[in-house]
């Protein structure tokens, strides 16, 4: 980790008709780190994600990616620049096969995505790379399975393979272990650690043991603002954080 900032927000604000979901959040994500956003329900974690990827427009404040202002960029453009997100519920294409899921992400690189006259065969050049990515997340042998039939943990693995296909510089993972059994959580944590090599990962996560295992740096949000920031050990001892989590207030 070289400490250089790759993703930064400055005084980010999102108000929904009077309700302020995100209130002046300033974040700095270091290149090559795993940065976790945690906080109680309704703290604004997912809203921050939606702002970062422009799925929601920010009311105020700015977002910088590699030093460039992307506050007004379109969501698809942000993805093309290398800032790729996942979603809270697994984001797969259920009626496509596992291989096709990954291939959809790869095919943008061919530059033929608008070519409605080109045969399907022209996509076959991507199959080898797609298989490689599937194997990297432990889905070898499942290439031709229709995604809807995969168990939940496998769907999340497929989602990560699809995201990896874009070779993103920064991966934003929204609750990657939500709704998973114990065994799947362990597998996904291992997977995230593996894919984080040479990349930056920002994740929203409820499962604190996952955060402890993975995160280099943790930002705690509460009621739309940054409550604390530091390593897991630092923030977990912070009295304000304990109070926010346990809910005791004077």
């Amino acid at each position: 980790m070289d400490g250089e900032t790759i993703l930064e927000t400055r005084e980010l604000v999102k108000a929904f008709q009077g309700f302020v979901a995100v209130n002046g959040v300033s974040l700095r994500v270091a290149r090559g780190s795993i940065h976790a956003l945690i906080g109680p329900n309704g703290a604004g974690k997912t809203t921050v994600f939606n702002l970062l990827t422009r799925f929601l427009p920010a009311t105020r404040g700015s977002i910088l990616f590699r030093g460039e202002d992307i506050t007004r960029a379109r969501p698809a453009e942000i993805a093309r620049r290398g800032l790729v997100r996942s979603f809270q519920v697994s984001a797969v294409f259920p009626d496509l096969t596992a291989l096709e899921n990954v291939r959809v992400a790869l095919q943008r690189g061919l530059g033929t995505s608008f070519h409605f006259w080109r045969p399907e065969r022209s996509l076959a050049v991507l199959d080898a790379r797609a298989r490689e990515l599937l194997a990297a997340v432990g889905l070898e042998g499942q290439e031709q399975v229709t995604t809807v039939e995969l168990p939940y943990g496998r769907k999340r693995a497929l989602e990560i393979a699809t995201t990896l296909a874009l070779e993103p510089e920064v991966m934003l993972l929204d609750e990657p272990t939500q709704g998973m059994g114990h065994e799947d959580v362990g597998r996904v944590v291992g997977l995230i650690r593996k894919v984080a090599e040479g990349r930056t990962v920002v994740l929203v996560e409820h499962n604190l043991s996952v955060v402890r295992d993975l995160a280099d740096r943790v930002t705690v949000l509460a009621r739309g603002s940054v409550l604390a920031e530091g390593s897991y050990d630092e923030v977990s001892r912070d009295p304000a954080v304990l109070e926010a989590y346990i809910g005791a207030s004077p």
């Binding site: 799925f55 969501p75 698809a76 006259w117």
Partner: protein, 313 residues
């Protein structure tokens, strides 16, 4: 499913289409082909992109009137007149689509319906469309300057060739790199965005393709039936194409054609029953949707897949 069986299936269908005018009344067969093409074009949007347009009659009808006018008043050769209608429908699709795709779901359907009503109004009001009577007495002319289309079978094969061209274009689009992105958008639009696709531009191209092929169907229809009428731009037509597509199976290549055949056949054979025909088609529609949600072709496909993969769907 074994590829060889599929190939033979297609060959059999092709032959069936070629021989159709010897078996059934050619005008009936041509009407079926035109509406089958229309429904297939509609299916590119509903079945493969997940967009429910409720104004597709605008493209069918606008092209029917344009083609009819070009044949009757300008004396254009039939293939050029039909192409002109197709081009106009595609251009109309570009304008309507550019405005409608900003919304989704019911709003998209309502915007397309609104535009179609606009076209209907224009057709009723414009001096050259014949108002309530429509455009009558359209001459068929000679295809490519060689084949007189007044012979019903020649006309049928002309329509059949154009149908195959349009159908092939749709089939190719569905199975192209572009078609794969469309399916991704249908399956999970936010995810497609997060993979870097500007979904609006893909939807717009699909809309224009669908409108253009609908226009081809409309132009052919005016040519062979020798009239363009208000019923082609009426919203009933927009509803009928939804019915055909769902009945046959949306998101299947052959479904819309099967649906069109069924609806046109029902309308034809039940024509004697008067207004009962709508009641009966309505009942068939409800029964089909309740009994097999995937449509006729969709159910058959599921059945075939099950039997080939040994019980697993």
């Amino acid at each position: 499913m074994p590829g060889r069986l599929v190939t033979w299936g297609w060959i059999a269908l092709l032959a069936l289409g070629l021989a159709a005018p010897f078996v059934v009344y050619p005008v009936f067969a041509m009407n079926v082909l035109c509406l089958a093409l229309f429904a297939s074009a509609f299916n590119l949007l509903l079945g493969y992109t997940g967009l429910l347009s409720f104004g597709h009659a605008a493209f069918l009808g606008a092209s029917a009137y344009t083609t009819g006018w070009a044949l009757r008043s300008w004396g254009l050769p039939p293939e050029l007149a039909v192409l002109l209608g197709t081009a106009l429908a595609a251009a109309l699709g570009l304008v309507f689509g550019a405005l409608a795709i900003r919304r989704s779901g019911i709003y998209f359907a309502m915007i397309t319906l609104g535009f179609a009503q606009l076209v209907y109004f224009l057709v009723v009001q414009l001096p050259w469309t014949g108002g309530e009577d429509g455009l009558q007495g359209i001459p068929r002319g000679r295809a490519l300057g060689l084949f007189p289309l007044d012979d019903p079978r020649t006309a049928y094969w002309f329509v059949y060739a154009a149908f195959l061209g349009g159908f092939w274009l749709l089939h190719r689009a569905i199975h192209s790199p572009f078609g794969h992105v469309l399916r991704a958008i249908r399956e999970n639009e936010p995810r497609a965005v997060s993979l870097g696709y500007d979904v609006a531009r893909y939807k717009l191209l699909a809309f224009v393709l669908s409108a253009g092929v609908s226009g081809l169907a409309g132009g052919l229809k005016a040519l062979v039936l020798q009239f363009a009428s208000l019923s082609d731009v009426h919203w009933h037509r927009s509803g009928e194409v939804v019915l055909m597509t769902l009945l046959g199976g949306m998101g299947t290549v052959l479904g819309p054609s099967v649906g069109a055949l069924l609806v046109v056949a029902l309308e034809n054979y039940l024509a004697d029953t008067g207004s009962w025909v709508t009641v009966i088609t309505g009942a068939v529609f409800v029964a089909c949707v309740v009994a097999f949600r995937r449509g006729i072709v969709g159910e058959v496909r599921a059945l075939v897949r099950r039997s080939f993969t040994g019980g697993k769907p």
